[in-house]
Symmetry: C2
């Protein structure tokens, strides 16, 4: 089990941050993760390189021209590989129309890549929208990791995520495996504890034991085009993402 | 000038929070704002009433059946009126296809409402996605208010917002008026000052003088289905949103 779709319909909950830093933790554990930027806004790609890639060297080339994923990987120093996004990805929704075939495209591409180059932990960064792209990620994944920022508006979104994933069960003929990850947990706020309690009551063992604390090093690292381990190795942010990595590895999820 | 589209492609930057609390500030200034929830995820509507409205009593009825906006307004106690969203709104993208006519639908609806019921400050909450719905908001608005949370990933998004709005200029035959509003400003963090500096350098007088501080009362108020003024009237959050309201009113923007 090594394909994680990091997805939440809610914006700004730490999807990109989690892909970046969980990948970095995996790298430190000796794995060589593959990061896939499925967000047309390309925030993850931007952290790796602020200059936009050419369309032909982006994930869009896979969707539009069938270029194999193996050719689209670019090295991300001290992290692994990235297949970057491109603004044109917004067209994937309409290129393929609403047929079911498109929903399995990424999965097929990853299967082919795995056959050619071997299995490796794969993290897919999604945009906050349930469309063809995010569904590609969910259909391709062994697990959907749902970052939930520790605030009330995010609680409602967690409920909606559960519903969205359950609606897919008849289509996928399996229950979509999922984990909820509390992020931006601010210990000074009373509501943080209340939200953690409610998440545990509602989702039980699907809530990650690891909680990612609100931590300035996590917020700063993108400014240096880095993950939190390279920016501030001793920070709580780094510790929390390493703990998350170990928890997922213990459960065979990464 | 009283129609504000509160929009940013970036998720979780405080769009919904800003519509809620700016409306509350306007109410306290004696205005009677109209709030429009253009986000199919309906976070704003959920704060007003966690029970989902019937489709026939939501904004979707306007798009699908041409029901006049006047009939869809529901009273939001001590705030004004709300036209709530519905998950079915996700279909607006496909109902109308890609014709230009649909992009002016909301504007026409609001013109008709104004002719029937008079002008009033109107705040439109958008989802973090440039699609038919958000374009409806931009086409209908006198001003696009762009919340920018005070972190680096948001800086990049502000740049993309500027580009998105400029791309619309030939279509709208006017420059889209806009203001950037820094939100979630944490005075304890050094990077906050750096981001404020960069925003001012890049966007000059388009950056609101008012900055909304990171404030726990703002984060808590949705849990009580309230705006920050009713939840914690003396808080910095309330003060900041009132200052924003006064700044916009002084410039004739609300
Ligand atoms: N634990 C944390 N501590 C401090 N800041 C954080 C933390 N997690 C995320 N952030 C910051 O919060 C902001 C939102 O995070 P991020 O962009 O990763 O969310 P997202 O879900 O990918 O957003 P979008 O929906 O726009 O794709 C970023 O500026 C990020 O640096
Ligand atoms: N100034 C602030 N201080 C503290 N918390 C804040 C502040 N502004 C927003 N928040 C919190 O940050 C989270 C994101 O805000 P909000 O949902 O309003 O953003 P959004 O841009 O509407 O998100 P989406 O893109 O999902 O629609 C919410 O939980 C909100 O309560
Ligand atoms: Mg992201
Ligand atoms: Mg919102």
């Amino acid at each position: 089990m090594a394909r994680l779709a990091v997805f939440n319909q809610k914006g700004g909950v730490g999807k990109t941050t989690t892909v970046l830093n969980l990948a970095a933790a995996l790298r430190r554990q000796g794995r060589l993760p593959l990061l896939i930027d499925l967000d047309p806004q390309g925030h993850l790609s931007h952290i790796q390189n602020p200059a936009r890639p050419e369309v032909a060297h982006s994930l869009f080339a896979f969707y539009q021209d069938g270029i194999p994923l193996k050719q689209l990987q670019r090295e991300w120093e001290m992290l692994g590989h990235l297949i970057p996004s491109h603004p044109q990805m917004i067209k994937v929704d309409s290129i393929f129309g609403k047929g079911p075939a498109v929903l399995n495209r990424l999965r097929q591409g990853l299967d082919a890549l795995e056959a050619a180059a071997g299995a490796r932990p794969t993290l897919i960064d999604c945009c906050p929208y349930v469309g063809v792209l995010s569904l590609n990620a969910i259909f391709a994944a062994d697990l959907v990791l749902i970052p939930v920022s520790t605030d009330f508006l995010s609680l409602q979104a967690a409920e909606e995520m559960a519903r969205t994933l359950d609606l897919l069960e008849p289509v996928l003929k399996r229950r979509v495996a999922r984990r909820y990850l509390l992020t931006r947990f601010d210990r000074r706020r009373r509501m943080s504890g209340e939200i953690l309690l409610r998440m545990n009551e509602r989702f039980g063992s699907e809530v990650c034991k690891t909680v990612i604390a609100e931590n300035v090093s996590i917020a700063e690292s993108p400014a240096y085009n880095r993950d939190v381990f390279h920016h501030a190795r001793a920070s709580h942010g780094a510790q929390d993402y390493m703990a998350l990595c170990e928890e997922l590895m213990e459960q065979g999820l990464a």
